[in-house]
């Protein structure tokens, strides 16, 4: 099979990208047949036979297994492809497979195309330079590695969601929160999931920004569908809308950047743009540095929207209304990481100033999210805020020039965050949709595997040595502290990450202790919980293995020696070094990196101690949540939602209502008609009618009256004629 792709290995990835569409199409057709046969079952005999066959849950299960099988096939292909890629780019890390086909030809109409050739110029009109948007793929080392990560995580989540959504299999589903009875939607779930995976892969391998933007939107749409999976629940609907709208705000920036790139440089291909923009001065193309700054800022705004950074992070916690595997796949591993991946992909485009902006955004995001996560009571909300915090770390890493550190953290985070979410999912599934930590406690006796795998995840995220989180976080902290020491005015960039590392350990262990340690707080909840089936626990085990071992390298205790980090770092030479990370302080720290490791371990230990002290031994229900002023401030997510609500939505709505009133004019309440546009229109109409009424009276309908008038006018005219002719 490999010789099929021998000459163009990149095509393997293209096939992998389009493969998920196959099960999606099949499921759609199946769903259509089921619907048609159900509605026509009385009418035709064949339809009723088909309906009996299609109605059984087996069909849904069969569809799910098809999707899982396809995902596993893709995972295999991606690993094979990654190996091929690594071997291919062994000598020169920046080598990549790329192939483009002409998609849209926007040719300036050739001069004189429309005048038919006169005798003078017989030769064809000169064709002026045609602008072309090429459609294709560009796969380099980072793309291959991330492609593999997404494939593996997706397949695990596909497998897990079969178990998690087993109650959707039945024909009649009782939705307590949505207060309604409806048909099972598993097939619908898998169709959209496949669609999402296709969009994600396409985003990873896209060569030009327009392709990226298309899959960017498709991913947003799929997240909208999946969040509103439990559509009957009001909060699900609102969350889906919020997510989509906030993403759109970010996409607006992305679109502006796209437009500037096209008008300025007449090309959207990422490698081409990287080549042009990496030179720094654009005087050759007649473009100013502010133009460059705005372009980069636009791109970053798109990523802020998608990766839920500080101004636009409000949608992610609400997105937890969707089913947990969705949160795991989309709102932890893949989609939110797309923003970071895009910046990494177009890293040379970003001037130093924008990188600084990225760094500071990431820094504030990680700190705010961490503080809010500490006071959350809903298990998924805690994980959501921790995701936002970790994304802040990645943005910070990119901001301070640690391209490979950021990407490596993206990779490891994908694994252990997926693990944590799936663990939470299995807990929720076991407790029959109970998500509140205050109701849990002591679950480790009933759900040992979930507890153990969750513990691995918690250790990984809190940066426990020898766990994958430690290697990637160390790489980032190393960069950050170097900046702090090197540029004292940016000390925050170094100090906040260190502080937040401790906070991360605190809220992760708080979660674990509340959920699994101590004695159960709600007897009824505890009674009904039991370990999840194998379909859910196998993915947990696989992911825990990955989140444990992905970061390892030889010698194992040396954080800088992670194999994957080296693979990623090799391609970093492509990007220019950020000024922040150079300087003599960096050199001093290099020798004494051991000092940094000690400092982070100390902070981590403090966090663990506080968490254990408060929750380790099974805290009572009331103690779990402090009700002080500070905690309410944190619970509200630093009042971001309130600010947006009061600052943007309400004034805007007030304005629109006023405009509507102004336009539609006073309803039955009366009021001066001149106030509204309709009023003006109506008043003009009335004025015309009023002025026409006297004229109407002349039309008496009596013919002789008309004749008389006619006669009189003729007499008048003749009189004038006579007078005129008299002279």
């Amino acid at each position: 099979m490999t010789d099929l792709f021998s000459d163009q290995p990149g095509r393997l990835y293209v096939v992998a990208t389009f493969l998920p569409l196959l099960p999606a199409a099949i499921l759609i057709i199946l769903g259509g047949c089921r619907h048609l046969s159900r509605s026509a079952r009385e009418v035709s005999q064949m339809a009723s036979w088909l309906d009996r066959r299609l109605r059984s849950p087996e069909v849904d299960r069969w569809g799910a297994w098809l999707s899982i099988a396809v995902m596993l096939l893709i995972a295999g292909m991606s690993i094979l492809g990654m190996a091929e890629m690594l071997e291919f780019s062994q000598t020169d890390p920046s080598r990549a497979w790329t192939e483009t086909v002409e998609w849209i030809r926007i040719g300036a109409t050739p001069a004189g195309a429309f005048e038919h050739p006169t005798e003078g110029n017989t030769e064809l009109p000169k064709v002026s330079e045609i602008q072309v948007i090429a459609f294709g793929y560009w796969i380099d080392r980072t793309c291959a590695i991330l492609f593999a990560m997404v494939a593996i995580v997706s397949s695990m989540i596909f497998l897990f969601s079969l178990g998690y959504l087993d109650d959707e299999l039945g024909l009649e589903v009782e939705d307590h929160l949505g207060h309604c009875r409806r048909r099972g939607r598993l097939m619908h779930f898998y169709v959209v999931l496949n669609l999402f995976v296709f969009a994600m892969f396409h985003l990873l391998i896209a060569v030009n920004l327009l392709q990226v933007f298309m899959s960017w939107e498709l991913v947003g749409v799929c997240s909208y569908f999946l969040i509103s999976f439990y559509g009957e629940r009001p909060e699900a609907g609102w969350a889906a809308n919020k997510a989509f709208i906030v993403n759109r705000v970010g996409d607006a920036g992305f679109l502006v950047a796209l437009a500037m790139a096209w008008t300025g440089l007449q090309t959207l291909s990422i490698p081409a743009l990287n080549g042009i923009l990496s030179r720094g001065d654009l005087s050759a193309e007649g473009l100013s540095s502010t133009w460059h700054f705005c372009l980069a800022l636009g791109l970053f705004l798109g990523c802020v929207g998608k990766s839920a950074q500080i101004p636009l992070q409000v949608w992610l916690p609400d997105a937890m209304a969707g089913p947990t595997p969705v949160s795991a796949l989309i709102h932890a591993a893949t989609m939110v990481a797309a923003g970071v991946y895009l910046i990494a992909r177009c890293y040379p485009m970003f001037p130093a100033e924008v990188l600084l902006v990225i760094a500071y955004t990431g820094c504030f995001t990680l700190f705010v999210a961490a503080t809010v996560a500490c006071v959350q009571t809903d298990i998924k909300k805690v994980l959501a805020y921790s995701t936002v915090s970790q994304l802040g770390y990645m943005m910070l890493a990119l901001g301070v020039g640690g391209l490979s550190a950021g990407l490596f953290h993206l990779l490891t985070h994908a694994f252990f965050k997926a693990l944590l979410f799936l663990g939470a999912g299995s807990v929720i599934h076991a407790l029959h949709h109970e998500q509140d930590l205050r109701a849990m406690g002591g679950l480790r006796q009933r759900m040992p595997i979930t507890a153990a795998t969750m513990l691995v995840g918690v250790l990984a995220i809190s940066g426990m040595p020898f766990f994958s989180g430690w290697y990637s976080k160390e790489a980032i902290l190393d960069r950050a502290t170097r900046v702090m020491l090197n540029e004292p005015q940016h000390f925050l960039l170094g100090f906040l990450p260190l502080l937040t590392a401790g906070l991360t350990v605190y809220y992760m262990f708080r979660l674990w202790f509340l959920a699994f340690a101590g004695s159960p707080r709600h007897r009824s909840v505890f009674e009904q919980s039991q370990e999840s089936p194998w379909v859910m626990t196998v993915p947990l085990l696989v992911l825990s293995v990955f989140s444990l071992g992905v970061g390892w390298g030889w010698p194992i205790w040396e954080p800088g020696e992670s194999i994957v980090l080296h693979l990623l770092a090799a391609s970093e030479s492509l990007g220019h070094d950020s000024p922040l990370s150079a300087g003599q302080a960096a050199a001093w720290l290099h020798e004494h990196h051991g000092v940094l490791a000690l400092v982070t371990a100390g902070i981590g230990a403090c966090g663990f101690a506080v968490a254990y002290w408060r929750f380790g031994r099974g805290a009572p229900v009331m103690a779990t949540v402090t009700t002080g002023g500070m905690s309410r401030f944190l619970q509200q997510g630093w009042y971001f939602d309130a600010v947006y609500e009061a600052g943007i939505r309400q004034p805007f709505q007030a304005f629109t209502l006023a405009a509507a009133r102004f336009d539609k004019g006073p309803d039955d309440r009366g009021g001066a008609s001149w106030k509204s546009v309709d009023g003006w229109g109506n008043s003009i109409g009335e004025w015309i009618v009023r002025s026409a009424r006297p004229v109407r009276r002349w039309q008496t309908g009596r013919i002789r009256g008309y004749v008389a008038i006619l006669g009189l006018t003729v007499v008048g005219m003749l009189g004038m004629l006579a007078i005129l002719m008299r002279s």
């Binding site: 109407r696 009276r697 002349w698 039309q699 008496t700 309908g701 009596r702 013919i703 002789r704 004749v707 008389a708 006669g711």
Partner: protein, 104 residues
């Protein structure tokens, strides 16, 4: 000794014309108006023929116009009568005063 020439005929047709207008203005009966119209048309015809007689250049056209007018008058009378019949059919009277349905 009045010499009979064009102006005499013009005066006569003017007289006919004003009689026609008077008839239209005074008759309440629809057919009275039709008769008035016939008078007016005859006045016009008389002018044509008189002009044809006394102006050599107008010799042929006068008669042709006159014939045209006569034919048109016949057609017009036919249609008018059909309309009056229909009106009589619905209103049982052809008094013009009662035909004021098309008022403003």
């Amino acid at each position: 000794m009045i010499v009979v020439d064009l102006s005499a005929f013009l005066v006569l047709s003017a007289f006919l014309f004003s009689c026609g207008i008077a008839c239209i203005a005074t008759k309440r009966n629809a057919i009275g108006i039709l008769i008035g119209v016939e008078l007016v048309l005859n006045a016009a015809n008389l002018n044509f023929v008189a002009a044809a007689r006394y102006l050599p250049s107008f010799r042929l056209e006068g008669q042709i116009f006159a014939i045209m007018v006569i034919v048109m008058a016949a057609a017009e009378a036919a249609v008018a009568l059909a309309i009056f019949l229909n009106f009589y059919h619905t209103h049982t009277t052809i008094d013009v005063e009662s035909a004021s349905d098309l008022q403003g």
